[in-house]
Symmetry: C2
Subunit: 217 residues, 2 copies
Amino acid sequence: MAKNHQYVSFAVIRRLPRYYRFLGELLEKGVNRTSSKDLAQMMGLTASQIRQDLNCFGGFGQQGYGYNVAVLHAEIHKILGLDQNFRAILIGAGNLGRAFANHIDFEMGGFHLTAIFDKNPQVIGSSISGLMVRDIATIADYCSVCLPNVAILCIPKDDVKSIVDQLIACGVGAFWNFSHYDFSLDHPEVIVENTQLVDGLMALCYQINDQKEKQKS
Amino acid sequence: MAKNHQYVSFAVIRRLPRYYRFLGELLEKGVNRTSSKDLAQMMGLTASQIRQDLNCFGGFGQQGYGYNVAVLHAEIHKILGLDQNFRAILIGAGNLGRAFANHIDFEMGGFHLTAIFDKNPQVIGSSISGLMVRDIATIADYCSVCLPNVAILCIPKDDVKSIVDQLIACGVGAFWNFSHYDFSLDHPEVIVENTQLVDGLMALCYQINDQKEKQKS
């Protein structure tokens, strides 16, 4: 039995999607059983780190047997809440919004994408990933009926504040924010996941520069 | 004077882009001077955490004065290597690749986007963000002349291995990988930044579910 997941640290939760993916790949290959040593090798971690992480969810590993892949995969699925059928809406059908609607596997991430909104009359009414883009002016009505769990913000920085205020007033309690406007401090009552894509470039830039400096010295 | 940046921990480096952004916003507003307390409030961290992080780069903070915004901003710019004019190429001009080419501020992240490649004849020759999409078959010739520092992979999982092998043979030493194929363990000699967008959804899914569970109990 899994322990109540509210005792699991956020650092462990952040690693769970990776465990989930690797276990899914093992399942696809027909592998029924794995060990912390095998998982460690696959994932570039240490066996003790893996045992420590997975111990948070109770006694799946058995001395001399290891882990049952299907059981562990199903348990992580449940802990992540992927069985809850949460609803996501996407705000902004520009380049980035369109790409995400088409590219991201929402079902794999635990969500149904139920609606896409934009303010541009030239985009409203067009179809993306099987959904018709709705007028942002209708969003309050939509939310009062369909109660989305999360809004994904692919809109320019200057548009974020007013949309977020409106969505919070409509009861939306979680946001995936791709804009450079960080509203999480103004709204500690909601869940905010900030993804700054440019930070990925900066981290790479640092590492390339660092390697260059080390080669010089 | 900044200390040699190779002594700065990777955890601190990961926070630098955020410092850099906040300091840039202060500069834009004409603010010349800030304190660890002000920065802490802006960024949702503690003042002591900020002092600890910024101390890695030497003595910018002065008792009773705080930090000179322009000096600190310029120093982080240099530490991140944003002044190095590194070159990036983008592999894959599908939905995601196109969106990134148009959306991501490469210059802000320290790179020039110099070329885009695809294998699809219908896409080759079209223009994205001012660059003509090149045939992936010509990539070895391009790399031998233009020596890109990083390749951004927006291609399906099954295409990754062969492209990566080819690019490494051409001397590309860093990758930003958006596919679900993690090649970092097979190639410890190169720098890999993996960005799994679906992990963001899973982290949100967990938090929404967790909040729901807590409200129940």
